[in-house]
């Protein structure tokens, strides 16, 4: 068992850290307040290959695997969860194309995505679905060499950026759920304003309206009726990004807490001298360590998936655990700061607001537990 990072992994981690500290951290409050990530940040991340870390260079990726992706995303997420959310959701969509796409589809849709020139989306959720795929009402009507898509998709990340979106729809011909690669902003594609969500500002969630969107039949992702498999397997890879983003929040909360405890004084001594504060700091450090190694392991597992069902379980339990701990740790971090932790002048206030999001996206907490129990009981 070897827990050390290769030189390449150390350098990827440091490259992401350096970019995040130099360019993202100084404007992280602005991103939070404006709920928007400046284009030049996304361009800069694209130039560093941060949009295609796990994928083969044949499709424009860096070929560094999910293990390296996790390391980079932790550093980006530490500076801004909104920026990390864009890459995470993009990698969810791109990962589905990578896992299920034909050679032609991968060459056509992954190259620009890996370079960050396209930002990919993954559109499953609808106003009436929640996590239940049986409730999908978006329709795909076969017309010769095309499918005509109609429906509304809810809370779709990156829907306002150009690039492909993986859309799940019910084929009217056979009633089955299938996945399609749709080019955003094609005829009949429109979006809402971004939702004003509680945290992770900058990571945009929009509704997509599909009105008679004409999709070539060759854009079907995986065979007809395989939509549920694309969803389950694709979203397992997506959870690697959610975990890494959450881990970045955990790391930020830990660093902010230690820094504040050393700087803030009470009766002429730093509050770090007080045992009550030390207990909180120690608990944060313990939880960070657990979250870190679970997330790093998930990245490692994603590079060597043998059984998709087992991987789905590992992704679900890691995502649920790390996102839960993020809520716990940011609360502890706020309490280390006392009343100051509630103020926007302090980073922990934002970290605490951001923390609640992870549990609700890419499958709510209870759904993760059901996946874990289902796989372990042998019912999935």
């Amino acid at each position: 068992m070897d827990f050390s990072l290769s030189k390449e992994q150390q350098l990827i981690q440091r490259a992401a850290q350096e970019y995040a500290e130099k360019f993202i951290e100084p404007i992280s409050q602005q991103i939070d307040e404006e709920n928007q990530v400046p284009d030049e940040i996304l361009k800069g991340l694209g130039e560093l290959d941060m949009f295609g870390i796990p994928y083969d260079d044949e499709y424009g990726g860096a070929g560094a695997g999910y293990a390296s992706y996790v390391l980079a995303m932790e550093q980006i997420g530490k500076a801004s969860s909104g920026v990390a959310m864009i890459i995470s959701a993009h990698t969810l969509g791109l990962g589905a194309i990578n896992a299920f796409g034909t050679e032609e589809q991968k060459k056509k849709y992954m190259t620009k995505g890996c370079k960050g020139e396209h930002i990919v989306s993954f559109a499953f959720t609808e106003p009436g679905t929640g996590s239940d795929p049986k409730q999908i009402t978006t329709t795909a009507v076969r017309e010769g060499d095309y499918f005509i898509l109609n429906g509304t998709k809810r809370f779709i990340s990156n829907a306002g950026f150009p690039g492909p979106v993986v859309v799940f729809a019910r084929e009217t011909e056979n009633g089955k759920i299938s996945a399609f690669i749709v080019e955003k902003f094609c005829e009949g594609y429109s979006v809402s304003e971004p939702w004003k969500k509680g945290g992770m500002h900058g990571g945009p969630l929009l509704d997509i309206y599909l009105k008679d969107v004409k999709v070539p039949a060759e854009n079907m992702l995986a065979p007809s009726g395989m939509g549920y498999q694309v969803l389950q397997f694709g979203i397992s890879f997506g959870k690697v990004g959610v975990c890494s983003t959450a881990l970045g929040g955990v790391l930020a909360a830990m660093e902010e807490s230690f820094k504040y405890a050393r700087e803030k004084t009470h009766r002429d001594a730093p509050i770090a001298k007080f045992q009550a504060v030390q207990l909180k700091l120690a608990q944060i450090a313990e939880l960070y360590e657990a979250c870190k190694w679970m997330t790093y392991r998930l990245g490692w597992l994603a590079d060597r998936v043998k059984d998709p069902v087992q991987f789905a379980k590992d992704a679900a339990l890691t995502k649920d655990y790390v996102c839960q701990q993020l809520v716990e740790i940011t609360s502890l971090a706020v309490s280390v700061h006392g009343s100051y932790g509630l103020m926007r002048d302090y980073k922990v206030e934002r970290l605490w607001r951001d923390s609640i999001v992870g549990l609700q996206i890419e499958g709510v907490s209870d759904m993760q537990k059901m996946i874990v129990a289902g796989v372990m009981l042998g019912s999935k």
């Binding site: 030189k7 390449e8 150390q10 350098l11 990827i12 490259a15 350096e18 970019y19 130099k22 130039e47 560093l48 290959d49 941060m50 870390i53 260079d57 860096a62 070929g63 560094a64 390296s68 980079a72």
Partner: protein, 252 residues
């Protein structure tokens, strides 16, 4: 044109902790000298403007340099020339300069040798000048900007009270300052390609230098300075300003 950039392996200074005034190096990742990275960036910028330029990174040190040097290869160096030997562990400026000079003699047609003004750890700032002396080459230090024009380098040397614009014949040695440029962050692809770039690795007995004849400087102690806080309480901004002035910290 062949540019050689000399770079030193140092511990990542941000991750060194101090205990009992002694630096702790255990588990501290290794990196390359901060100003050395400015020197490399300067070479890579020249190379980007002129494809015929080849940038070779040169380093001498222990076996770990072979891994550490990937950082320079990721940041744009074409190849590495390394002298690796555990006997170089703790070698002082004189010894390293002798090894680097011997190595440069073995390299073909070197036109320009770049150094950072000082290393990131000890900052003795001696190696560039020593190598110039050993190789009998012209040298300029404290360089804050440079360009290559018609077979010579035109540089600005920044001194305390003035800037000097100088021409230096090539082959020559230039030591650069940190403000020269902003070293690039390597992309993930460049990082992964770094390990595949050409590398020439020599042992100490393969270069023409007798390390035994080089007296190593013995470091007797290396302590962090003691910080004595004066704990002066001031009751007004005026009093604070007065205190700072009396300590000669402002208004010089």
């Amino acid at each position: 044109m062949n540019i050689v950039v000399a770079m030193k392996q140092i511990p990542d200074l941000q991750q060194i902790r101090i205990r009992n005034r002694q630096p702790l190096f255990d588990d501290v990742p290794l990196t390359l000298g901060t100003i050395d990275k400015n020197a490399l960036e300067a070479a890579v910028v020249l190379k980007e403007a002129d494809e015929s330029i080849k940038v070779t990174v040169l380093s001498a040190g222990n076996e770990e340099v072979e891994d550490t040097i990937k950082e320079a290869l990721a940041a744009g160096a074409d190849e590495a020339f390394l002298i690796l030997d555990d006997a170089l562990e703790g070698a002082d400026s004189a010894a390293i300069a002798a090894v680097l000079a011997a190595a440069i003699k073995q390299m073909d047609g070197v036109d320009l040798i770049l150094f950072g003004e000082g290393s990131g750890d000890n900052y003795s700032g001696q190696v560039g000048s020593r190598v110039a002396e050993l190789l009998n080459l012209p040298q300029v230090g404290y360089v804050s900007s440079m360009e290559i024009k018609g077979g010579q380098a035109v540089v600005t040397r920044t001194l305390e009270d003035c800037d000097e614009v100088m021409e230096i014949a090539l082959p020559g040695i230039i030591s650069v300052m940190a403000g020269l440029n902003e070293p690039r962050i390597p992309s993930v692809t460049q990082i992964l390609k770094a390990g595949k770039k050409p590398k020439e690795v020599l042992e100490l007995d393969e270069v023409d230098v007798d390390i035994k004849k080089l007296a190593f400087t013995e470091t007797i102690s290396n302590l962090a300075p003691e910080s004595n806080r004066k704990k002066i309480v001031v009751k007004s901004v005026d009093e604070l300003l007065q205190g700072l002035r009396s300590e000669n910290l402002i208004g010089r």
